[in-house]
Subunit: 394 residues, 2 copies
């Protein structure tokens, strides 16, 4: 089954599109990547979307839902063309959409109780109409309706992509925030654990932007950090951050590691007279140590550490990780044959595929849902013939 996965993250800089071939054999599907394309948002659009997330009004949300649908459709058509396929060759699209709001803790309403909600835009009816391909979207609301936080959903895909019969594996994703998924040897999804570990690129990027007055937005390859020396006193202080010792399930974001955190960090740097290089080296090791400290909540051996996300290209973080995990081999998604940059888009191709075949894909112990549910809503394509409607089997 040929499936396109579409994704745009919270940074709202592009629509990523991955085309994969998914082969079902036994219980575990096999995913064969065919092509990847990224459709960058114009800068002004990125700004519009970020503003929409904070104080967007109903008329703008209404319009942007349809407009982003058009861009998601373009990204899908682009990756299909890149793979020398035609839309009629494609069976399914899975589109995450663009999150513009997420209220996982819920708001209480009389007569109902706690109402959890989330809002992804990028109208799937537009995608289905432009491509003629059946499109599954809106993956998060069903998990939240079942009492979950609607996130994270990707750990399920980690299990399919990296699960091993005899090796316990820690899958690490270093995005703005870092998170881990622990896959026990031979383990099914039932024994999987996943949670945020804390600092990721968000902190490093903010330091670089500040130090260069915005001329640079990240430490390319971790070069600056590699030139610095770790300041042990600051590291000890950073390791005391309360989020690191919080028990999972836990998740974090800009509230804890965003602008105001970095402002306090820079004040400490000035006081201790640290160079930017030393500060970046310290943060690289902190990021790695925070990931390493996740071991205390994992009840099984870790034979491999497999790292993805933008942090992979930061050599200072990668070397720190190897130092933290000592003799346990640290490799990357790409080392395992998975494109790191295509992984999230690929994930939504698999989630769509599994919903189509009636497989529940939320992981209740990870999202907090009361039970497994079928994720997503299905918008029929034009020429596409359904063989079978989703029916819960798992």
């Amino acid at each position: 089954m040929k499936v396109v996965g579409l994704m745009s993250g919270t940074s709202a800089d592009a629509v990523d599109a991955a085309l994969v071939n998914i082969v079902r054999r036994g219980k575990t599907p096999r995913i064969i990547p065919l092509a990847f394309a990224s459709l960058p948002y114009p800068r002004s659009l990125q700004q519009r979307i970020l503003e929409l997330s904070h104080h967007g009004r109903v008329d703008e949300i209404c319009h942007m839902n349809a407009y982003l649908g058009e861009l998601f459709a373009k990204a899908a058509l682009r990756v299909i063309q890149k793979a020398d396929h035609r839309p009629v060759d494609i069976d399914l699209i899975g589109s995450h959409g663009q999150t513009i709001h997420h209220l996982p803790k819920g708001i209480r309403e009389s007569g109902i109780g706690l109402v959890r909600s989330t809002l992804q835009i990028g109208e799937p009816a537009v995608i289905a109409e432009r491509t003629g391909i059946t499109t599954i979207a809106n993956f998060r609301p069903r998990d939240m309706a079942a009492g979950g936080e609607g996130a994270p959903l990707v750990p399920y895909v980690h299990a399919i992509a990296f699960g091993h019969a005899r090796r316990g594996r820690l899958v690490v994703n270093i995005g703005g925030i870092s998170n881990v998924t622990y896959l026990p040897p031979g383990g099914g999804v039932g024994e999987l654990r996943a949670f945020d570990t804390g600092p990721g690129n968000m902190v490093v990027d903010a330091i670089v932007r500040e130090a260069t007055n915005g001329a640079r937005t990240f430490d390319a390859g971790g070069r600056w950090a590699l030139r610095g020396a770790v300041n042990q006193r600051l590291l000890t202080e950073l390791m005391d951050h309360p989020f690191l010792s919080q028990r999972p399930p836990k998740s974090t974001g800009r509230e804890e590691f965003g602008a105001s955190f970095v402002r306090r960090l820079l004040a400490k740097q000035r006081k201790a007279r640290l160079s930017m290089e030393d500060l970046l080296a310290t943060c690289a090791l902190w990021t790695a140590e925070a990931i390493g400290s996740s071991r205390r909540w994992v009840s099984g051996d870790i034979h491999d550490v497999i790292v993805g996300g933008g942090g992979v290209s930061n050599r200072a973080i990668m070397e720190s990780l190897q130092q933290v995990f000592a003799t346990t081999p640290v490799s990357t998604f790409d080392d395992c044959g998975w494109s790191s940059k295509a992984f999230e888009a690929t994930a939504f191709a698999l989630l769509a595929h599994d919903t189509y075949y009636g497989q529940c894909t939320n992981v209740p112990q990870v999202t907090g849902a009361r039970h497994p549910v079928l994720l997503g809503s299905v918008v029929p394509g034009r020429s596409h013939s359904f063989r079978k409607l989703p029916q819960r089997t798992g």
Copy 2:
């Protein structure tokens, strides 16, 4: 196939739920009503929704989408219980949702062209999770993606409910605004015409609210209008309203017949020293004449006029209609065995049913779409087993 239809109109006062049995025989499905229930919104909620439609913010929209999903689910469960059924007895839910914005004329975006959009809330994943029943929602966006205005969608259902092999029929709906659907004898959907005719209850209700300082909100049974006399001079003036002579396709709303129109009308009343009763009598005949004048855009005989909507209970309007249509019999939805108050909810049950069976239900010459499309997105239920996924056949 047992299907629940859910609807909340622009007045946002209640969720209407209709449970019907739909039997397929040949090309035309037969609809057998089983039960109807209405779940009134609390007054404060109605206010919140109306405000949401005008200047709702992203966080409120995110939350209200899930919250209204809960209320739509409650309405579905209520009508199922009222019919002494259990949720597992029901095959499908069709939910219109609550429209909070509609931009049918579209906004131009560079690189894309005209982007038409609409926003209905009442999360179908919540409905599917609470009821366990497969839920089809979001009917309008696909028609708009195909270049249509996403409305009206009910004329298709008029054709199924009222179409006749040998009689041409004018189906009239008197809501806030009045609209007509012309069904030629033996005609398929291809020859159907539908458009707004202009004034409906919106004008009459506003006059009553004004005259009673809000103590009454409508002319119950049309009793006041029946006590008045038509003022011919004012009627002639009203018949000159430009909307009435505009060629279809056409649609109107509060912009043309809302508060500011009524203010001008009341100024005329004072100037002409008309009683409220005379004004209401004149408006009743005007509503009927405007409906009657639709005949000029209908290219076929009218053997029956069949009236639904709130206006049916206004005897002054109904008598005026009989006067306007002279020897053509004027009857009501209820006379034909269709509950007028349940009709819109029933319509979305049929639209869901037809999407499920791969039948396109938008009427291109009515909405302006380039071609027929399958309407709606499908959220799988829990215990429900799909027999066949939607596949375009029509």
